[in-house]
Symmetry: C2
Subunit: 351 residues, 2 copies
């Protein structure tokens, strides 16, 4: 299988991308990676290192992190992220991986390959481990910052499909993130989505509070992309901060090596994984026609390699076909007036 990697996206581009691609291509000799971006800079970074399954596709422009997502994708026709999805559309690659501006990745996906029929808003599904040892998906982790109730319902259907097919959860439990468990809590958005999901044939378990996000009470937690992004990053910040507190306590105690080796090193290493979804190989962009994987902006070469692997597995299970079928079935319980309408595309995507 062949995967396009946006070589210019992310805080450590193109270095971390090139290194990650080299690692993946070196290990997965049956598959191919296409580095998409500025040919001269990529060649400089590779410094003469080549592999027969590592390719290069030139793109002269870059969408920066500070760019307005939709506008820049529209204007920068030769941007690396847009070129990636053009390769996907032509069938030259089976999946796209990007660590760049995630809003731009979504906009490029919508412009070039479009949405799965029936889905109005794509979503980023962030995989995070629950503290009991399982894993849960947060949908949306930042793709669609402003949502209507039907969008949360679509996020539930997409998350359920991904959890079943890619994570092997047989009957994923779905919850809505809210400010309390009682049905009277939440916003108009969450209450209307709750009413719709209660009528669904999904394994819907109601509201879940922020404090239980990592408790493993649900396999798929749906929320708007603004809340999802803020919550994930706040949890990441909390965990990183706590790890720093513990490290400084060890240093002050002067017992660094002994205690670290004994007990704390694995725990500290585990902490990072608890909330940093880059470690889990990137987050799939659900609801687009094809496979797109969003990696963390600060992805290391290892995280990029993991994201390429995630792309492989998602392409393997034919996610989009499965989702189309699931949406078809959902027409039985989706209220008529709530059926997905045609919409003019990604004008609501945040930058």
């Amino acid at each position: 299988m062949k995967i396009a990697l946006d070589a210019m996206g992310g805080d450590l581009a193109p270095a971390a991308l090139c290194e990650g691609a080299l690692q993946f291509a070196g290990e997965s000799v049956d598959h191919e990676v296409v580095l998409v971006g500025d040919e001269r800079r990529i060649r400089e970074t590779l410094g003469g290192r080549t592999l027969t399954n590592l390719h290069l596709h030139h793109a002269s422009e870059v969408v920066e992190m500070t760019d307005h997502a939709v506008e820049s994708v529209r204007k920068k026709k030769d941007s690396s992220i847009r070129k990636c999805f053009e390769l996907l559309k032509r069938g030259d690659v089976a999946a796209v991986v990007s660590a760049g501006n995630s809003g731009a990745a979504m906009a490029a996906a919508l412009f070039v390959v479009g949405r799965v029929k029936g889905i109005e808003r794509p979503a980023i599904a962030a995989l995070f481990p629950s503290l009991g040892g399982g894993r849960s998906l947060l949908v949306d982790a930042g793709a669609s910052v402003e949502c209507r109730p039907i969008h949360l319902v679509h996020f539930a259907i997409m998350g359920e499909t991904y959890a079943r097919r890619a994570l092997d959860v047989s009957s994923p439990r779905i919850a809505i993130l809210s400010n309390g468990e009682e049905e009277s809590k939440g916003t108009k958005l969450t209450r209307d989505a709750l009413a719709l999901l209660k009528k669904s044939d999904l394994h819907f378990v109601g509201y879940i509070e922020g404090k239980d996000l990592f408790s493993g009470f649900a396999d798929v937690v749906v929320t708007d992309g603004f809340t999802g992004n803020v919550v994930l990053k706040a949890s990441e910040g909390t965990a990183m901060g706590i790890a720093a507190l513990i490290r400084s306590a060890i240093e002050r105690s002067g017992l660094s090596e002994r205690l670290g080796a004994l007990l704390l090193k694995p725990t500290l290493a585990g902490l990072r994984k608890v909330v940093d979804y880059s470690e889990y190989g990137g987050a799939p962009l659900l609801g687009i026609n094809g496979i797109g994987i969003i990696a963390h902006g600060r992805s290391t070469p290892k995280a990029i390699k993991n994201a390429l692997r995630t792309a492989l597995s998602a392409a393997d299970v034919h996610l989009s076909d499965e989702l189309r079928q699931r949406l078809e079935e959902a027409q039985r319980w989706l209220p008529q007036r709530q059926r997905p309408e045609k919409e003019a595309a990604p004008s609501t995507v945040s930058g």
Copy 2:
């Protein structure tokens, strides 16, 4: 000074409330506490323990955690939370403390004592420590779940006033919680509030991401009450979960006592404080005519004692007067059409 304590509110009511009141009254002999609630149950709980500065005020009804906030406060005219604010209105007490349904506490405050003129929506200001050692305020932590831009601006003004007067921060830095630092990020709500705050005379530092919430980059972080509640609880959940992971690692290693005593016990104790605002003595309800302190629903007697102390200090600095003056000054930069309108009261309060 005399403080009313809702004896029936909270997961551990009335026991934790009575114990906390006894502790506070025993230590603060110059001040008085009025336990408001079911006289028989309170007397049973006190079991004959009395103090000359501990009083009782009967209320026959209770607003439960599952009740719809506004409706129940309207209907349950003899509820303990409503009685508390009636004592405040009559000037019998200088402040109210409640660990019950926080939506109901806000609704009762709005019904009985009302808002500070010019403020449309009150807010809960949650104090949390930043990892560098300082403290920050999150406004709103859950009082007003659905907001308009002007509400976030009011939250900024209220938070700034509280940080200056109650926390002794000379020029509080104000930020808006968002899904990215760039001004193109956020929702329509955050972008419109950003535009207003850029024109203000506040020390406004722009957007702050979830990952930097605990970094100490801002003294006051404003957000809608839904996001604020979810983010605080998710951070609390992350910290508690990590503490549990570390405890189980210690137990597995069989080194519990030695290592715990050496290094980890103080760190673990510190973790709880990092995000659990109950430890900080409750969160002030800003924007009401008078002092109301919201304590965590699971408040221990110690947390209740701390909340009573917070109420004392807030009453001491005449917060409402200061806020009125600050709002008057803000008329210079608040756009004319954005000036606070009259509004029909707390119909938008979530349950």
